[in-house]
Amino acid sequence: MIRRLSPPLIVFAILVYLFLLGPLVIVIGAALSDTTYLTFPPQGLSLRWFEKIFEMSAFRRTIVTSLQIAFASTTLALLIGIPAAYALNRYRIVLPSWLSTLFVLPVLVPEIVLGFSLLRSVQVGAGVPVLIALLLGHTLIVLPYCVRVISASLASFDFSIEEAAISLGSPPAKTFFTIVLPNVRSGVIAAFILAFITSINDVSVSLFLTGPGISTLPIQILAHVEQFFDPVVASVSVLLMLLTVAVMVVVERTLGLTFLAK
């Protein structure tokens, strides 16, 4: 069935896309500018601001830190989130309903509040080193995504499949790895990606927890903009965007993006 789209709808759709994509186009343009200040449209084309990123040790260091924190916090959140999501779904009837809300709490509390309270309690209060505090903070903010996404996967998992495996002689723990996990694999991968991107892009919590000598990329961008107004920030932003796009492409190739929308 072919339906004709009404002209106002087409105009509206174009406006929405412009609103979504416009800023990205401007950032990419600014990053490629040959000038020493941020400008759009770009004047002259150059990749020198991309080279500049890697010449500045602060950016090199914070890119590495951001990747480390993102990997570590996502892994940690999955280690907590997978068993939590499993228990919340498997024992839904006997568990109190507020328990599942508990795991979403970190996204409901304003991140500024979360960052500040982590600074007070973990860093200042307990004297935890900066890197560990960052790791804990990020784990906390990405955990809700892990629990939610994996829960959604498990909600459509038929637990009688698990019982069938057990009745055929597979011990419960082994059954979890050979039967349950392979069937929520797409959920686990989606959770990993969402969590990873959330961690890489986080500003609010990191702002409170970064300390002398240790910072993450978004915080470094912020600090840089405060002092300089050169296209380096734009090129770093493009780099961050490319990283996100790369992750999405990997997902699209392995699973198809549609499942993220489920």
């Binding site: 009688s160 057990i166 002689g169 597979s170 039967i179 069937n183």
Partner: protein, 355 residues
Amino acid sequence: MTATAPLSLANLTAHYGATKVLDDLSLEVGAGELVSLLGASGCGKTTTLRLIAGFLAPTRGSIRLGDTDLTALPAHKRNIGLVFQNYALFPHLSVLDNVAFGLKQRGIATSEREARARRMLDRVGLSALADRLPGALSGGQRQRVALARALVIEPPLLMFDEPLSNLDAKLRIDMRVEIRQLQRANGTTSVFVTHDQEEAFSISDRVAIMDAGRIRQLDTPEVLYQRPANAFVARFVGFENLIDLRVTARDGARVTAEGAGGATVTLDQDQLGAIPDRFVLATRPDGLRVATGETGLPCTLGLRTYLGRAYHYQAETPVGPVTASGPLSQPLEPGGTAWLAPDPEQCCILPPEPA
């Protein structure tokens, strides 16, 4: 070929939280016998099955299979073949790997387990689909795979949890016959849970009719259908008319009994067996005949429905509303007066229901 064993449940009581779902249930299933647990949802039939499988722990009581006490044994060590309502196949494994799964857990080498799984798939007529994923199969095929997967481990006990409920009517009957044939051929002790009376009666050696966590009657389908032991079972198997009566006179084998409103019925103990002073007369609609002969229970006829072999009438009597039947040759008009005579061949005498 299979080492089969009798199943024995003794005084099983189970709770979900504070709710008692199984109340002192005892059941013996002989070696090679197929016993159905039949009842409405919430009667405890699935709970019983889950207790035997080891997915639930009883509050009290014991479960024995042959010489083995299963009560405290973890579910994965019980060696019971289970067939689920929704098939419960492993979606990420091929049909062959699904069937071979149980053998793999038993440490059987790849080549042998594949050979055995293929033989079993052959028996259920699915060898051509061995490499497919379960998602590519129809409902009937999936249930055959599930059956093969449960049978291939040669369990001493097979259990079915409403295995045919998700299939369409025609397939349900075919599968029912197939399950029974395979079960007979293997001689495996079996427990079959269903809410479908026809299914239970057609497939079972004996049927346990359950209600509120207890077995109300356990017997062969023939006995249950013709001689229910109590009002609950009688209603369950279609004795729609239950009439409370009290004996007023005995004359040899002939007994005159009176019900509410002073209505009297005369019954013959030679045909119906001993009749106690207070009893319930149970009949199906076909066992309560409408006549114009002015003997029996007087009634006012209500709605008439045509059933092909007879007419059924909703009738008002002094003892309450009943459903009766009349011959096709003589349709009677609603609103008229008639008399109802119980057909002793299709009646039974039950103890009075506790108030």
